[in-house]
């Protein structure tokens, strides 16, 4: 160990590395390239990972949608092909009977899955947009960013069936003047005047919503379109640690029993499980990370083997030098340590340069893709990966250095000296 911290040792190693410049550079390039690929790949995979996570950040990761369809089996005296209709009270039943569920938001919509879009008029300007009847709890499941000065629907809006609406940023652009404050303004929604209480910011990804959506209180929607207690679909969020797939099955089982549907009828209720989708996509991202790790480490390995190869050749070239050193009193251990240290040192220098270069390129890519619409955000390499890579390099550098080192000492000094 003392040998490692002896400045004389390092002078000897710097001497031998520094004086064989071509060899040193070629050696370094191999490992540098390997670690660079590793860092670039791992960072990109991480960027992809971050990107997906950002795409989904507006929606609870463990949320799902459930809607009603037609039965496909006769059951309980009802014939097949019966249209089903979700009711407001189903929400209460589900919430009470599935403990995994944290929030459930009954929703009505028009102009999304069917029905006509609502006609919105303001003065001379008109537009048609999808309209939703919502409860305040909806924002717990799908975050709605509301621009300053505005708000989302609240409990009092529901109680009093207020004629208030939250409009999208596109609607604002199309119906209001540029510097006009839309909050407090009035728009006519299918011939009823509504006061605008907020403008929501559109966050892309994870759903069917758009930047032109209009949200009104559920109770107002009910009166406006005469829907009674009908619900088009439920947005449901399970607790963070809950099994979303099981919750989804539970919800559908309860709905089947409530609506007199054969438990085996798979087509009576439809559902879309974001949690499951998210899991799949994250699985893909994880797969990418794993791939990049494998490829990166394989590349490093190739680089280190390259170092070993070059050192082996250089040991052959230096047979005489090593013979002289041993004639002058270098012990086999000293010769061996020198070769191994050269190997490790070269690997480390190359590795650190590769890391710096890789980090630079990642930064550049991150900067260039900042405004491009693709799931790629903040590509970074976690520190443990970097430390792991360095560790791998030291270990591999030592192991690979062992081969030329052993070769160097296996030649008798007398034979080494005789070599011309």
């Amino acid at each position: 160990m003392r040998f490692l911290f002896d400045s004389n040792t390092w002078q000897e190693i710097f001497g031998s590395i520094g004086k064989n410049k071509t060899r040193t550079i070629i050696t370094i390039v191999g490992v540098l390239w390997g670690i660079f690929i590793y860092i670039a790949l791992a960072g990109s995979a991480k960027g992809l990972d971050n990107g997906f996570e950002k795409e989904f950040q507006s929606v609870a990761m463990n949320s799902m949608f459930v809607w009603a369809m037609r039965t496909s089996m006769p059951y309980d005296g009802y014939k097949t092909g019966r249209s089903l209709q979700l009711k407001l009270q189903d929400a209460e039943t589900i919430k009470n009977r599935v403990p995994a569920i944290q929030y459930i938001a009954p929703r009505n919509a028009k102009g999304v899955f069917g029905g006509e879009k609502a006609n919105i008029v303001r003065g001379q300007k008109t537009g048609s947009y999808a309209i939703y009847g919502d409860f305040p709890v909806y924002t717990k499941i799908s975050t709605k960013k509301i621009y300053d000065g505005g708000r989302f629907i609240n409990d009092e809006d529901i109680e009093q069936s207020r004629k208030v609406c939250v409009i999208g940023e596109r609607t604002q652009k199309e119906l209001f003047e540029k510097d006009e404050n839309p909050i407090g303004g009035y728009v006519r929604v299918d011939n009823i005047y509504f006061q605008v209480i907020g403008v929501h910011k559109y966050t892309p990804g994870g759903g069917f919503e758009s930047d032109g959506d209009i949200f009104i209180p559920f109770t107002t929607y009910k009166k406006l379109y005469n829907t009674g207690n009908n619900v088009d679909f439920f947005s449901i969020a399970a607790y963070d640690d809950a099994d979303v797939v099981k919750a989804e099955a539970d919800v559908k089982a309860i709905l089947k029993s409530e609506h007199h549907v054969d438990p085996k009828d798979e087509r009576a209720f439809g559902s879309f499980n974001l949690g499951e989708m998210f899991g799949k996509i994250m699985g893909f991202a994880r797969g990418m990370t794993f791939m990049s790790l494998v490829v990166g480490i394989a590349t490093i390995l190739a680089g280190v083997i390259g170092i070993g190869n070059i050192l082996l050749i250089s040991v052959k070239e230096r047979t005489k030098e090593l013979g002289v050193r041993r004639a002058l009193g270098a012990t086999p251990k000293e010769v061996r340590s020198q070769i191994i240290l050269e190997s490790v040192f070269l690997t480390m220098v190359a590795g650190i340069m590769g890391i710096i270069l890789g980090a630079g390129v990642l930064k550049l890519v991150g900067y260039l893709t900042k405004d491009i619409d693709m799931p790629y955000t903040n590509p970074t390499v976690p520190i443990p990966y970097v430390i792991g890579a360095l560790l791998i390099m030291v270990i591999l550098g030592t192991l690979i250095g062992l081969i030329p080192a052993q070769r160097a000492v296996s030649i008798k000094p007398i034979d080494a000296l005789r070599e011309e």
Partner: protein, 233 residues
């Protein structure tokens, strides 16, 4: 200083065994300058290699400065070489990417001498061989005679008990050869024990004693009147 008794050495060449040294007996006292002569194949280089612990004898005793040399592993041999012996080779064997001074300092590095002291000593020995102003030059920038003088300085730097020179003038023209021999004689005058392997009679005559080897045995061992190399320079 050196005691050799009944030294045997043979090499296996395929199915044949080549008996190179067939029982060598001789001793060298401190301060001697001995030439080992013989034609090629007489075993003189093998003898030198055994003396230099670069090779091991099959049988026989070898005592160096009172220390019996046997059953050496590489590590022990390296330590003894570093402590007892200085080598001068026919082809100089300087390390080509190190300057003259660094080359001279190398055995001191293996003696774990500090950097500063190493450099001072190296410069001192370079000065003794008259190459102080060439300290920073690489071997490729030196002439053959200069290289051999650097090699001699390197051999002396470790302050060895015995200096072993294997054909030190073999790669040099006669004028440079005499300069190198002059240097070797001066080192000997200072009290150092030196062994020179050569096949050139004029070089051998510049030593104080000639040991003649033929077919693995000593055929002649005589003290001679030394011819001073400085007469030719």
């Amino acid at each position: 200083m050196i005691e050799i008794k009944n030294l045997h050495k043979s090499y296996k060449m395929g199915s044949n065994t080549l008996h190179v040294l067939k029982g060598i007996n001789f001793s060298i006292d401190e301060g001697e300058l001995v030439a080992i002569m013989g034609s090629s194949g007489s075993g003189k280089s093998t003898l030198l290699n055994i003396l230099g612990m670069l090779d091991e004898a099959d049988s026989g005793d070898y005592t160096l400065d009172g220390v019996p040399i046997k059953n050496l592993d590489e590590t022990k041999a390296a330590k003894y070489r570093n402590k007892f012996l200085g080598f001068v080779f026919q082809s100089f064997n300087l390390i080509n990417y190190k300057s003259a001074m660094e080359n001279v300092a190398l055995p001191l590095y293996y003696q774990k001498v500090g950097r500063k002291e190493r450099q001072e000593k190296a410069l001192k020995y370079l000065e003794q061989v008259g190459l102080k102003e060439w300290a920073g030059h690489l071997p490729s920038e030196l002439s053959g005679g200069q290289k051999q003088r650097v090699a001699i300085a390197r051999a002396m730097a470790a302050e060895p008990k015995v200096l072993l020179a294997d054909e030190p003038t073999g790669a040099l023209d006669s004028k440079t050869s005499y300069e190198v021999m002059d240097l070797i004689q001066k080192i000997n005058d200072a009290g150092n024990t030196i062994l020179v392997v050569t096949h050139e009679p004029d070089i051998a005559n510049m030593c104080k004693r000639i040991v003649h080897l033929k077919d693995g045995v000593i055929v002649e061992d005589k003290k001679i009147k030394q011819v001073r190399a400085s007469a030719y320079v």
